[in-house]
Structure formats: C-alpha cells, structure tokens
C-alpha cells in the first residue's frame, strides 16, 4: 500500500485524485467529501448533491480500487468500479482510487453509454437531478448482477445460481438507494430493462 499523508495535526492534505482518467493534484481540507471535491474543486458538477447524508443516491459515482488498500487484498468482485455515495466518502479516502463520474461514462468520441441513451429514449426523468446518480448506480448494478451478487429480491442465495437475471423486482430492489422525487421510476425501470435486454 502506498504510504499516505500526514501528521496528526494537519487539517488538510495534498492529495491525488484520479477522475475519469485524469489525475488531479489538490490540497483539500480533510472535511471535503469526494462529492464536494468533484463539484467545487474540479468543476465536475454532473454529480449532484441531494440530501448530503447518503439517503438519496444523487451523488453516486463509481470507484475502483477503494478496497485494494485492504490488507490481504479484496475479494473477487464485479468488473468496473463500485458504486458509492460520494457524499459520505471523504476525498482523502479516495486517493489512489480510480473514480468515474457521469462525465466519464460516455465514450471519448461522445457516444453515450447505453444507459444514457436508454434514459433519453425512455424519457426516464422529469427534472433530471437524480439522473446522473441513477445512471452511475445502474451501471454498477449491471456488473454486480453479472458477477452473481444476490439481492434481497433474489429467489435463491445459492452460490451455484450464477449471473442474476434482472427482472423488474430485482431492478427495483437493487436501485432502491436512488430516490427520484419526481417519481419517474416507471421509465427509469423501463430504461434499465432495455439495457439488460441488449446486453444479454
């Protein structure tokens, strides 16, 4: 593991954040969450601040390598980043990790991520404020299901079950960490189901 910072009395740290493939070097007050670092310091305002308490999911981003710091290494898991609430992750905890935000989901030539295209096609939003979090969360959820992670809606916990088929009940349960106050759930579900059908 890379030795990280600081002396106990410093209240800020110099740190590296790798976001959407670009490395940024910042000095941040330790109180800065990853969400505020993205929005206020890096100008990446696609990630939204809703409740700021981990209850709404608007701040969801993907983080790869957060678990890599663990002694003895992480367990096998889904490919790609893991979805987290960036409002509850201090920016200092995210150094050395690979962070993907909604700005990094589309390909470099501007082609939308299949989930982005599906949300547009299905009109899966009203005000759009929760949408970046919904899409980042759904992107990671597809990886979790492909890796065979069960959910509270899964009919079986059997380890032999293999990749999970995402029916409506599974998607609703797995997406419950993302609230939509406009109530666009019907079309959010339809958009995600479209992508599930394309990829299976």
């Amino acid at each position: 593991m890379i030795a990280r910072v600081t002396t106990a009395d410093d209240t800020s740290s110099e740190l590296n954040l790798r976001v959407n493939g670009t490395m940024y070097r910042l000095r941040l007050d330790h109180r800065t969450t990853l969400l505020d670092a993205l929005r206020e310091h890096l100008g990446l305002t696609g990630t939204k601040k809703g409740c700021d308490h981990g209850q709404c999911g608007a701040c969801t981003v993907l983080v790869e390598g957060l678990a890599e710091g663990l002694a003895e290494g992480p367990a096998e898991g889904p490919a790609g980043g893991r979805r987290v609430n960036s409002c509850l992750l201090l920016a200092v905890m995210a150094q050395d990790a690979e962070i993907t935000t909604i700005e990094g989901l589309a390909s470099r030539d501007g082609e939308l991520h299949p989930l982005q295209a599906a949300f547009v096609e299905r009109d899966a939003l009203q005000c759009g404020y929760c949408t970046p979090g919904q899409i980042c969360s759904a992107a990671a959820m597809l990886g979790e299901a492909a890796a065979g992670w069960p959910s509270a809606a899964s009919a079986s916990l059997s380890p032999q079950a293999g990749p999970v088929t995402l029916d409506a009940a599974e998607i609703r349960e797995r997406m419950s960490g993302n609230l939509c106050r406009c109530g666009a759930y019907v079309n959010i579900l339809a958009a995600i189901q479209d992508v599930c059908r394309e990829t299976t």
């Binding site: 600081t6 106990a8 663990l70 509850l88 201090l90 059997s158």
Partner: protein, 339 residues
C-alpha cells in the same frame, strides 16, 4: 464540521497507539455512519485514524469448519461470499436487507457492529439526549418513539441498535476479535454490547483504542437452515421496525435446537434465549413457536406508540419458524423478498 487531522498508520499497532493516546481521535473505516454523524455535529473527532487499509479484508476458513471474517470486509463482499450464502444464509440475508447497494460497497463489518443508533433525538444536537450528552434527559419516552425499543431499554434511553448484520451474528454465536492497548482478545458478540441502564453513552465493552479486527462464525451446523426477515415502513432501503434472525434444527417433528435473535426492538442485537429454552425439545408447531415468542416478550416494556411491535415480533417469529420447520426456507433460499 469540526476541523480534524487524518492519519493512515502503517499497521494496526500504530493505529491503536494513535487512538489510545488522543481522547479526540476515532478510527475510520467505511465512514458511512461516522462521516454522517460528523456532518450532523454528533461526532466531533479531532483526528481520524483510517484503518481501512489495515484491517483484514478477506473471509477465511478456520479449523473446524467455521469462517473468519476480516473486520475490513465490505458488506457487499460478505453478502456475496459463496460460503456465507451456503452455510450462513441468515447472515447474507441480513446484510442484503440493510442499507443500499452503494452503502454496502462502503460499509465494513467492524464498522457495522459499532454504528450508532438512528434515534432522532440522538442525531439532533438541538435536543437533549442521554446517550449523546449524559444527564441531559430523554425526550423520546414522551415524544417520537414509534421505532424505539420494547426490550432492554431504561428510563434513561430507549434507543435501538440499527444493524441488521449484528442480529444475524447474534443468532450465529459469532465471536469478535479485538486488538487494543491491553493486547488481543476474543469475546462473544453478546459481550460486546451493554444495556443502557443509567449510562446509555457507554454502548460497548470496548475501551479507548480497542479495534475490532475480525469476526468468527462457528461451524455452520444447522445454521444452513436459517433465515432473516425484516419488516420496515417501505419495501427497501429503510431501517427495520422489527426483524428476526432464526435457525432451526428439527428432527422428526421435534425441535432439537433453535437460535433466535431480534433486531430493531432493543438497544443491542437481542438474542432471544428465553424463547430458545422454551423451544428446545418441544414439537415444531405454531403453538409452541407462539409460546416461545410470548415467553421472550413477557418482559417487553413498550411505550404507547410502539406497543404494536410486541405483536409484530410475535407474528414474525411464528411465521418464520413455521417456514423453517416446513422447509419452505430451504438451504440457501432467500426469505428477504417477503419483507
């Protein structure tokens, strides 16, 4: 939020020394509860000692057939582990019944055990709370207590422990490994928590600088026939109103042994030993399941707005035990969908 230092020590010993030597220091793991409490002004550490890179992050078999879960294992990895799903379905279900996909990716096993109550008064620094400010009083008994304790509370505090995972661990006779300034030790999960009494601010038996490093699960035995059921105010992503972790060993219609723990109804994950004693050797029938639940709940001291929990817990216990006895919650099958 108060200014704070942030330290990533090279090893657990240095982390323990850093927290032991500084009254304002706190260990930081997943942060899903601590960072939130800091935003609310409830927790005000002046130094965070990040132990996420120091704690074991793997689940390993132990001699005799049990599992050792590193305290740094994320909830999502715990619930996905094939050995946990097959041998301890109650634990996988409990973890999957808690929080959201995002939070489970962050939260760790050690942190989950030490998360604080979600009692509204505890989380609101403008209100009195004996847990947050000893001696300041408890507005809950005459105020909003619909989701607070019916068992184990005191005149000073009726807050509930919010963990789902810990309820399953209580039923499974889990053992908690701790390292601290006095060296390493292991204690049954039941000895980790204290009842509030007149000191609700003292929630555990841990001393300053004690760090949970792992949790052991004994060999599965009949834990494979186990399940967790959580009742809450919405279908997903909400703290429990009441939950039950149960395991049942039935032979020829007679209960050989049972494990029962209740969640969201007490200041700690509530192992229902009175009910277990009633069940041992009795016919595996709804009548006896009900008698066992009644025996456990005889000491319940509900408040006006949470008296419904007594009936609710009884009903969940009877239904779950019936399903376990009938094999409807077979090996590795989920009970979570119904909640």
């Amino acid at each position: 939020m108060r200014l704070f230092g942030y330290l990533v020590p090279p090893d657990p010993a240095a982390a323990i020394a850093a927290v032991t030597g500084r009254p304002g220091a706190a260990f930081l793991a997943g942060g899903t509860n601590l960072v939130d409490l800091m935003k609310l002004g409830v927790a005000t550490p002046d130094l965070l000692v990040d132990v996420t890179g120091l704690l074991p992050g793997r689940i390993e078999p132990v001699p005799g057939g049990g599992l050792r879960i590193g305290a740094g294992v994320r909830n999502s990895d715990l619930a996905a582990d094939p050995r946990v799903r097959a041998g301890f379905p109650v634990l996988a279900q409990a973890v999957l019944a808690g929080a959201s996909g995002q939070l489970r990716n962050m939260a760790t096993v050690g942190g989950n055990l030490l998360q604080r109550t979600r009692c509204l008064y505890f989380q609101d620094v403008t209100k009195p709370c004996n847990k947050r400010v000893p001696g300041s009083g408890c507005p809950a008994r005459a105020g909003d207590h619909r989701n607070l304790a019916i068992l184990g509370g005191s005149p000073h505090c009726v807050a509930t422990h919010p963990s789902d995972m810990a309820v399953a661990l209580a039923a499974l006779d889990a053992v908690v490994h701790v390292e601290g300034p006095a060296g390493p030790r292991a204690l049954p999960l039941g000895e980790l928590y204290r009842l509030p009494g007149d000191r609700p601010d003292r929630e555990t038996t841990l001393e300053r600088g004690d760090l949970i490093t792992a949790v052991d699960l004994p060999a599965p035995g009949f834990a494979a026939r186990s399940a967790y059921r959580k009742v809450r105010d919405r279908a997903s992503y909400a703290f429990g109103v009441a939950s039950v972790a149960a395991a049942l060993d039935v032979d020829g219609g007679v209960i050989r042994d049972a494990r029962l723990a209740l969640g969201a109804v007490a200041p700690l994950p509530w192992r229902a030993r009175t009910a277990e004693r009633v069940l041992a050797g009795r016919p595996a029938t709804a009548e006896w399941f009900g008698r066992a639940a009644d025996a456990e709940l005889a000491d319940a001291a509900p408040l006006p707005d949470n008296a419904f929990k007594v009936t609710l817990v009884r009903n969940i216990v009877v239904r779950m035990l019936c399903e376990l006895a009938n094999g409807e919650l077979a090996h590795g099958e989920s009970a979570g969908a119904a909640s």
